[in-house]
Every structure is written in C-alpha cells, then in structure tokens.
C-alpha cells in the first residue's frame, strides 16, 4: 500500500500545497480573534474552499492514472482492484489530514511572526475549523465515487456536481431546523451536520469500492453493479435536483398567477370588492400612475359607478420561492431575537453551562401566553451594550405594552405613568415614542420619560376607527380562498380564487406542467402524508399536499407509468437484458421524467448492439500443426 503511494506523491504534493495555500489565505482573511480567541460564527470561505478542493481531490485521485495513461501499467500487477482503490483512499486521507492541520498551523505561525504580542489563543477552537472542513471529506468521497464511473471525464465532473449539490442541500436542510431549538441549539445542529457529512463520506467511499475497476467500454452494457450503485445514485440525486428546480419554477409561476389575481378592497361606501391592478401608466409629468379596475367574482371587469377604493384589505401571501442551498454550519448566533409564527417571542441567550447561545421563547405572564397576531416589537434605539437590549412588545389589539423580564423568564405588563393610557406606539421615531392620551413618552433610564404633550390623541380620536377585521386565507398555489370576518366573527366577505381569465389559466397551466417534473412517488407521499399548508418543503408538491387534487396525483402516476412504458419499449427494442429493464422500469415508474431522460443517456444503442452478422469461421490460409515444445 505504501509502495503504491509512491506513484501518487507528485499529485498529493501539488494538492496539499495548492489547497493548503488557499485555505491559509482564507483563514488569514478572518480576524485572528474571531477564529482562535472567540468561537467563530460561521466560516463560509473555509467551507466553500473546502468542498471545492475536496471534490477536486477525489476526482484527481480517481482519474490520475487514467489521464496519465498509466492505468494499464498499474492494473497489470498482482494487486486486486480494491487494493489499488484503497491506496487512492489512503492518499486522499493523507491530503485531508494535512489540510486539517497545516493551514491552521501556518496561519498561527504567520500571526505570531507578524504580531509577536498576539492574544492568547485557544487551541481547542481548531474543532470549529475541522467542522467547516468536514464537507471537504464528503466532497472528496463523492469525487472518488464518481471518478470511478466508466464515463467521459466531463460527464463525471457534471455528475459529481449534481450529486454534491443535492446531497449537501439535503444535509443543510436536515441540520438547519435543529439550530433553532432552545435546549440543544446550535450544538445539535453542528453534530447533525458533521455526522451526516461523515456518514455521506463513508457511504460513498464504500460505494466507490464496489464499483472500482469498472472500465469504460461503450460497446458493452454497464455492469449490473455499476448500474445499480453508480447510475442509481446519479438518477436519484438528479431527480432531487430536478425536484428543487420544479419547486422553484412552480413557485415562480404561482407568484405570477397570484399577481394576476384581484385584491380585496373596501370601497368608500364600506362595501367589499375585488380590484385588479392595471399596468403602470406614464403621467403627463413623466410620473408613474398606479391604477386599478373593479372586477366581478369571475374576474371580469365591471363598473361600480362612482365607487372608490378606501383601503386594501389583504394580499395573498407569496409562496416560498428560494431553491434549497447548502452552506457552512452556523456555529453561533449573534442576533437578538424575533417572533415565531406561534406568537411567542424568542430571544437568543448565552447559556451558562456551556457559554453558547440558544433560542429561548417567552410569552405573556408567568404562564407564557402567546401574544396576539398584531403584536409588534418596539425597542428601536434602545439597544445598548451596557444595559442590554430592551425587549418591549406592543399588542395593538389590547393596547398593552409588555416588557421582558429575563429573571422571571416572561413578559410583564408595563403601564404609562400617572394613569395615562397608551393609544399607540410610534416606531418611526428614534427612539421609539409611546403615545398616551395626555403625553408622549420615551424610555430612558429604565422608566418612561415625558417628551411632549400628546397631540395625536386629537388626530386619532376624531377619525372613526374601521371595524377590526380578521382575514382567513386558505393557502393554495392555484385556488386560495379568502374570508374576512369582523371582530365579532361574522363573515363579511369571501372569495374563492381560481384561474378564470385566459392569462390566469396560462400561469396555472405552467404551475401544473412543472409539477410533472416531480417524482410521482413523492407526489403520492405528499398527497397522503404532508399537511395542506406544506409549501416550504421543496420535496413536497404544494399542489397535492394534504389530500388536495387527487386527480393531479392520478395524472402524475399515469405520467410515471407512461415514462416507464417508453423506457421499457426503447430498452426492449435495443435488446437490453432483464436486469436493465427492471432497473429502469422501476425507477421511471417511481421517479418519472428524470430517469427516462437518464436512460437515454446511459443506455446507448451501441452498448446493446448485437454486432455484425456472424460470418462462418474461416481457418487460416496457412496453418501448421501446433508445435509442442518442452519447457
């Protein structure tokens, strides 16, 4: 094994020096204190450099002999393919070990040279550097695995990138939710991140042993093991990437659709109506003019005489749009806090037992009652490092002000002095002003200080307050419904949106069309298992989640069956064997379009060709009897 490393020494040296230099430079760009004195928040640069170099390392180790033209020289020696591959894995392990230590030592050495009075460092913080370099290991394993594929190099690079993106996004997606948990906080997220990457690395290294030694021979079908492991994993991750893309495109077209849907407004006569925004017009002075038209329930324009729009009641919530991505593990939070959807206020606090930050949620009073939906945090301009951030919450519906008492672990009510009643909070002022019926206050030295006499009570008082409304929106990409209730809970207006105009139908058609790029199996799973509100999970089709649109699920299944039928028909025409037919048949049935396209790429006509017509065997023109020689 060690002897085999002799041949790898040149590239190992180059990769250690190249990758190590880049990693050192990246570490140099971070303040020494933020890595070696205080735990770093996040080391994005090191993470990015790590996975890029890791992937390069894996691919380089796999294809070194092939590209040098020494593959046959290497393979024609009395060593098994697994042993040869083990030497590649060992070479990668040596490089990875070097990357985990040398750049950090170099960075500290340079710091010590440039600034001899460097602050005291904590060597144990190297674990944070390692944590950011763990993806380097999994990327390297992916490179080793894909590098053993018997395909052209450019295909291998493309496949490795798809694999890496899909798996890394999946790992980040798994690790991220844990980082918000109060007790385990970031610590658990880190462990999940690290363990998932290590498990990925292990799985791909083992898989690479299973397929090592596969030779590229385009005149023969792929070996069954290579098809199962190599092509199977490629198709699965390509399907994952296609699902992410379909999610983005579905979201984009549904946003377009919702933009076309009319908004609900209240007219000057107090009635509710639907209006559709018209394209911006240019005014005579060159200014942009917004205009809208009233529409009926069928979304057709209608005239309402002299009616005017008094106020817009509600907008449909925009669907979630971002593509799943991957990134460096978050090592610490340094933001203050905010609201969760549950109405609980959350803040990050330093835990005493381990000195790390964790989310902690607070409610009203000792029993931690959640705030009403209209509660807002009002503490602008009060944050100071001496007294700590001020956590004040104004609940508009009850016109009450709450202050966080961190000792009690809950919000306590805060009253204005002299029996004044709070009517509003002006967050546009700095610092925030609290408007009472008599005086306007600000918060100073842990108490309310009068600023001026309140003039706003006169402004606010004469204006008749609109009846408090509550909107209920049934989220759906294509046909959301909107109900408006008054404070007493009486239904005042409702509208079930649906694509009704040709333009709306076109956008809805595109949303549905993109849903066919998702795997039918996930469509069924989402239909049966996910909640109807599930729109942020890229793996679940929001069109069918929670038992919606059974007809669309049936169409997805039919589409999968059609893909399987096409794949099988083509393979049978090519003369593929039973194993290949089963493999692609099951994959296309479950995963739909992506495996069908992949089968066109991986199962070529040439590989299944029966070759030239068999000619009768012609004996040599000149032949003599075998001469048996003594040895």
């Amino acid at each position: 094994m060690i002897a085999l490393l002799r041949k790898d020494r040149p590239w190992m040296r180059s990769v250690i020096v190249g990758g190590g230099a880049v990693m050192t430079v990246v570490q140099m760009t971070t303040d020494l204190r933020e890595t070696w004195a205080l735990p770093p928040i996040e080391m994005k640069g090191l993470f990015t450099v790590g996975w890029i170099w890791g992937l390069f390392l894996g691919l380089a180790a796999s294809v070194f002999d092939e590209k040098l033209g020494t593959r046959e020289l290497l393979e024609h020696r009395p060593l098994s393919q697994r042993r040869l591959h083990a030497s590649r894995v060992l070479a990668c392990a040596v490089v990875l070990a070097a990357w985990n230590f040398l750049p950090s030592l170099l960075r500290l050495g340079i710091a010590a040279l440039l600034d001899p009075q460097v602050l005291a460092i904590r060597p144990e913080l190297i674990t944070y550097v390692w944590l950011d370099l763990i993806p380097c290991t999994s990327a390297c394993a992916i490179g080793l695995f894909v590098g053993a594929f018997p395909f052209r190099l450019r295909w291998r690079v493309a496949i490795s990138l798809v694999l890496l993106y899909s798996l890394f996004a999946l790992i980040s997606w798994c690790a991220e939710p844990w980082s918000n948990e109060e007790q385990a906080a970031i610590e658990r997220s880190r462990w999940i991140f690290a363990n998932l990457h290590l498990a990925t690395a292990l799985a791909f290294v083992l898989a690479s042993f299973a397929i090592c030694g596969s030779r590229r021979d385009i005149d023969r079908p792929l070996p069954p093991r290579m098809r199962l492991l190599g092509v199977g994993s490629t198709v699965l991750t390509a399907t994952l990437a296609t699902t992410f893309a379909a999610h983005l495109l579905e979201g984009r077209h549904s946003v377009e659709l919702q933009r076309k849907f009319p908004a609900i407004v209240r007219t000057t006569r107090g009635a509710f109506a639907l209006v559709r925004d018209l394209p911006l017009r240019q005014g005579p002075m060159g200014q942009s003019i917004h205009s809208a038209e009233f529409v009926d329930e069928e979304h057709r324009p209608r005239m309402l005489g002299a009616e005017r729009i008094e106020e817009r009641i509600a907008q449909l919530p925009r669907p979630w749009l971002t593509l799943p991505s991957f990134g460096a593990p978050r090592l610490h939070w340094r933001t203050s806090g905010g609201y969760l959807e549950s109405g609980m206020y959350c803040t990050l606090q330093l835990r005493e037992h381990d000195g790390r930050y964790a989310f902690r949620s607070f409610g009203k009073g000792p029993d931690g009652t959640p705030f009403a939906a209209d509660a807002v945090r009002v503490a602008k301009g009060y944050r100071s490092y001496d007294s700590g951030p001020l956590h004040l919450v104004f609940e508009r519906s009850s016109q009450s002000l709450w202050k966080l008492d961190s000792e009690l672990g809950s919000f306590v009510p805060l009253a204005l002095p002299n029996g004044d009643t709070l009517i509003d909070v002006d967050s546009s002022a700095t610092p925030t002003e609290f408007v009472g019926t008599q005086v306007v206050y600000s918060w100073r030295n842990q108490e309310f200080q009068p600023v001026r006499a309140s003039g706003r009570s006169e402004i606010i008082a004469p204006k008749p307050k609109a009846p408090l409304l509550r909107a209920h929106i049934e989220k759906d990409l294509l046909s959301p419904s909107h109900q408006i209730f008054d404070a007493a809970g009486t239904l005042m207006f409702e509208h079930a949106y649906a694509p009704r105009t040709s333009s709306e139908r076109r956008s809805a058609g595109l949303v549905i069309a993109w849903s066919f790029a998702r795997p039918p199996a996930l469509s069924v799973a989402g239909h049966l298992g996910a909640s109807p509100m599930e729109t942020e999970n890229a793996l679940i089709d929001p069109l069918v989640s929670g038992g919606r649109r059974t007809w669309l699920v049936a169409l997805h299944l039919l589409f999968g069956a059609l893909c399987a039928a096409i794949a099988l028909w083509r393979l049978r025409r090519l003369g593929a064997d039973r194993h290949a037919c089963w493999f692609w048949g099951v994959l296309t049935l479950l995963l739909g379009l992506t495996p069908l396209l992949a089968s066109l790429c991986f199962e070529r006509r040439r590989a299944w060709s029966r070759g030239p017509a068999i000619e009768p065997s012609v004996p040599p023109r000149i032949v003599s009897a075998p001469a048996i020689l003594s040895t």
């Binding site: 085999l4 046959e72 070759g611 012609v618 000149i622 003599s624």
Partner: protein, 313 residues
Amino acid sequence: MSAPIEFEDVWRWFGSQVVLRGLSFRVEPGQVYALLGRNGAGKTTALRILLGFLAPLRGRARILGVESEQLGPAQRAKIGYVGEDHRLYSTMRVRDVVAFEAGTRPGFRRDLVATALARCGLLEKQRVRQLSRGQRAQLCLVLAVATTPELLICDDPALGLDVVMRRELLDALIDLLAETGCSVLLSSHFLQDVERIADRVGVLHEGRLIVDATLEDLKRRVRRATWMPREGAAPPREAQILRAARRRVGFELSLLDADEPLLERLRATGELAPLAPCSLEELVLDLTGPEEPGLLRQPLSSFAERGAVEVRS
C-alpha cells in the same frame, strides 16, 4: 500441460468497425509466438483482450487457464507485460520505478534488475522523463522479466527504436528466454527480428488470422519464383498462388505448397525460374500488402482488368 494462451473465436468491434473476426489460436508452453500484421490489423486489441483490459464481445480468451476477464492477482503475478508506448511514471527516477515495482510485485528480483540495468547502461538516479525511448523500452523489459514470469506479453516492444537499440532489446529478450524458458506472445512490425526469435507466427489481416504456422513450416512451404508468360497468357487462378505481382518483365509469384502439377502448368504457359525461399517479410507483404506497389486495396475486378490476378481464400 494446458496452453498458457488460447483465443477461441474472439470477436471485437468498436461501433461499426469490426477489429477482430473470429480470432482463434493458442500459444503452447515455452513457445515464442509472434503476432504480425499491418497497422490496425487488430494485434493490440487482441493483446488487450488477453490481458483483461478489454472484453471480447463474442468468443473467449483464456490466459494461464482462466478467462481473461477474470484475470486475478495470482495470474497477473505470472505475466510480464511490455506495452507499445513503454509507459512509466515520468516523475520518478529509475530507482523509484524499481522500488515501486518491488513494492507492488511479490517475487520481484532486485538483483536481476541491478545486473540488467548495468548492462543497459541505465543509472538509478536518472529520471524517467530524461530517458530515451530505447532506454525506456529496455527498462520496461527489465521490469517485466524481473519477476521471472511464466508468460511474457510484448506489444511491439521495439516500436520507435533505432536498429542498435532494437538489437539490444532483442538480445535481452533472447537472454531471458534462454534463462527462464517462458512462453512469449509478441506483436511486432520488425519481421527480421521476429525471424530470429519466434517459433511460430500468426498473421492478422483485417481482424482475421490468415497464417498460423511455425517458421520452419512457412519457409518450407512458401516459395517464390519469377514467371514470364508467353504472349497473351495470364497467371492461372490457382489457390496455391498466394500472389502474382507484375514486374517489369513477367510476374513474381508466391507459391504455397507448390507441387509438380502446378509447376508443370506454369511451365506450359510461360518460362518459370527456379523456386527460391521466401522471407517472412515477403510473405507478410504478399498476404497483407497492397495488390500493386503504391496502391492500397482495390476490388479484385479492377485489379483483373489491369492484367494481374490475385488469388485469395
């Protein structure tokens, strides 16, 4: 004792191009078998199939008793291989190459290598990339034989070497054979060298083996003669006439198993010079070369129109 190498109706194609068409032959223990043929005849493909680097698409190739596709470490330990491009790790020095081979091949004889390197004038500190093509070929051969293989496979080992280097390489090979008595399968374009070393030759032409015979047999059975036809006469279409090449005066005939009746028929239609032995080079040229000097293959009909006749099986 079973044959160390057996090809049995091996077919191989690359897309629509058929490279081997039912190749069948065997190399007996201790035999030196030379596989000859023009460029693209399929020699390297046959050797790569044999070594398990390429799979046959029909038929089977066996080496040391196992299917070439199942060739394992135990069999590879007994096979020496010299590729046509003498590929080595170019960043290594000669001593690194030797250490690498010694570390990866059990039974590698460093003493043998030291002697051979001294004889070839190779220095251990020399870098591989600084070696000449001939020196690399010699080093490859030395490394291939340093494990005292049972079977040596050489794919055109003398390709690109000058005459001196070629002779040196050949001498080294002959020494090895004298010492070990291993079986050898080699492909080569240098037919004079092959004549010196081979026991048996196979000539590949367009993927088919058209000759599989011992050298003695070939020399005995294939003869050449100059034939000057009388007015209007053309060479007869006989299976025994391998080739009739038009010369300035008459035809140069290559005859296989020329018996008295054939010679009588030729004498009856022209003047036949005494039969002379045929060299291997001439035989290969007759069997695989272009029909007319300066021309590559042409349809037999167009050739016949020019007044020459070629007979092939």
